[in-house]
Subunit: 253 residues, 2 copies
């Protein structure tokens, strides 16, 4: 009898010191570190799959991964063993057995939510510099909110990114909200069925231009219609971006 | 006519990658980096003085320093030049000319405020690990609050630290409060006329023992009376500690 079992986990990481999520032969990646950890514990080669392949420098509090291991002890013991063997910039916040045989963290997901953190004050912050994008000139959050509303719904986002595979650049955005925290923090929260490559960072950079008054809020409409990557702003820095949530249909995990 | 002028500044730093504040010949320190920056700008050897010599790993959002430089341009230009030449883990958030000739950031101060951040949840956080002390077992904040009240007023704190100079270990604590944030954060805020070496970290470590139920809340009274460094807990980790404010009498800066 094989004790091999499939698991899913919610993973948090500090993207600063990684060359992104996806495995690379010569560079430190989140996938590489997790697989190394699982191999140390189980003495087997293990491949994980993930909901999203975040770029270098991008953080996650809600990345979802899945993998198969043989483990004879309790689930809590496995989570403890994993967290004890991971580097401190990766944490498994939740670990469960997969109950549906065909669950896949990427293909089963129905939506993803990202947050982007901007620190809008004259000087950068020493203790937050790894986790926010510092914008020194004042941003008009109301203009940014008006522009964000134009992103809601199904649109061709070809101006904001390339698809990770295939050629379909239509995405459905169901949430695009700016939240203002008292301490100079602007937090953008965006949910879509899926995202194009660098889409959130190009959207944020474009909305920052709106907030600075460089472009009018409704230029979002023209940028979307242009279907040209150069019509939007170059991506905002990776350090402000967090993958915070991946949603699955009920009972699919 | 000499253009030399004395300045004070409010300095923020991420203590993680420093061997403390105070200058050391062979190690990276906050003082060392600030003096190197001022020398680069002014082409003179410059010594700074500071309100508090924080330990290795301790952060600051409200450290105060003072120094003399010759500068022909505006105050805003000087602050810009300094921030452009500092490493990203130090920021001068405020810069002013000193108006009183005998102002000294340490000797003129009438009180200091520190904050200590605890993350109280089962697993540590990857994105907060440099800035909080992770405690996995549940803490009873009400017991910690009761214990903290016993620290208020003038006491001999010999059990909680050694004086940086002299032998007087009496300190006056005017604030010792725990604030509970919704996301598992417990923030301790303590203000005193001055602090002993490692006093805040030993107080926090002892209060954590109270919160865990290991010692009763009123054992604080016995620990104070013992006047013995071994009667309190070993210091809590440096990474949770922030120097947040230094108060001066009106019109002294």
């Amino acid at each position: 009898m094989s004790l091999e079992q499939r698991y899913w986990a919610v993973v948090e990481y500090d993207g600063t010191d990684f060359y992104g999520f996806q495995l690379q032969a010569e560079a430190r990646t989140v996938q590489g570190e997790i697989e190394k950890c699982l191999e140390r514990i189980t003495r087997r080669t293990i491949r994980i799959s993930a909901a999203g392949r975040t770029d270098a420098g991008v953080h996650a509090t809600g990345q979802v991964v899945a993998f198969e291991v043989t483990w004879k002890h309790t689930l809590a013991d496995l989570q403890r063993a994993i967290n004890a063997n991971l580097p401190t910039d990766i944490v498994f916040n939740e670990l469960q057995r997969v109950s549906t045989p065909d669950f896949h963290p990427r293909f089963s997901a129905i939506s993803r939510t990202y947050q982007y953190h901007i620190l809008n004050q004259p000087w950068p912050s020493a203790v937050q510099r790894r986790y926010v994008y510092h914008v020194d000139r004042p941003l008009d959050i109301n203009l940014m909110r008006q522009a964000s509303r134009l992103l809601l719904g199904s649109h061709d986002f070809a101006s904001f990114g390339k698809p990770p595979q295939g050629s379909n650049t239509v995405r459905q955005v169901t949430e695009a909200e700016w939240q203002l925290r008292g301490d100079g923090h602007l937090i953008f929260r965006i949910t879509a069925n899926a995202f194009l490559y660098r889409m959130v960072r190009k959207i944020v950079a474009t909305l920052v231009q709106v907030g600075l008054g460089t472009i009018p809020f409704d230029s979002i409409v023209e940028i979307l219609e242009a279907r040209d990557l150069n019509s939007s702003s170059p991506p905002a820095p990776a350090c402000g971006l967090y993958l915070v949530k991946v949603i699955y249909p009920e009972n699919v995990r």
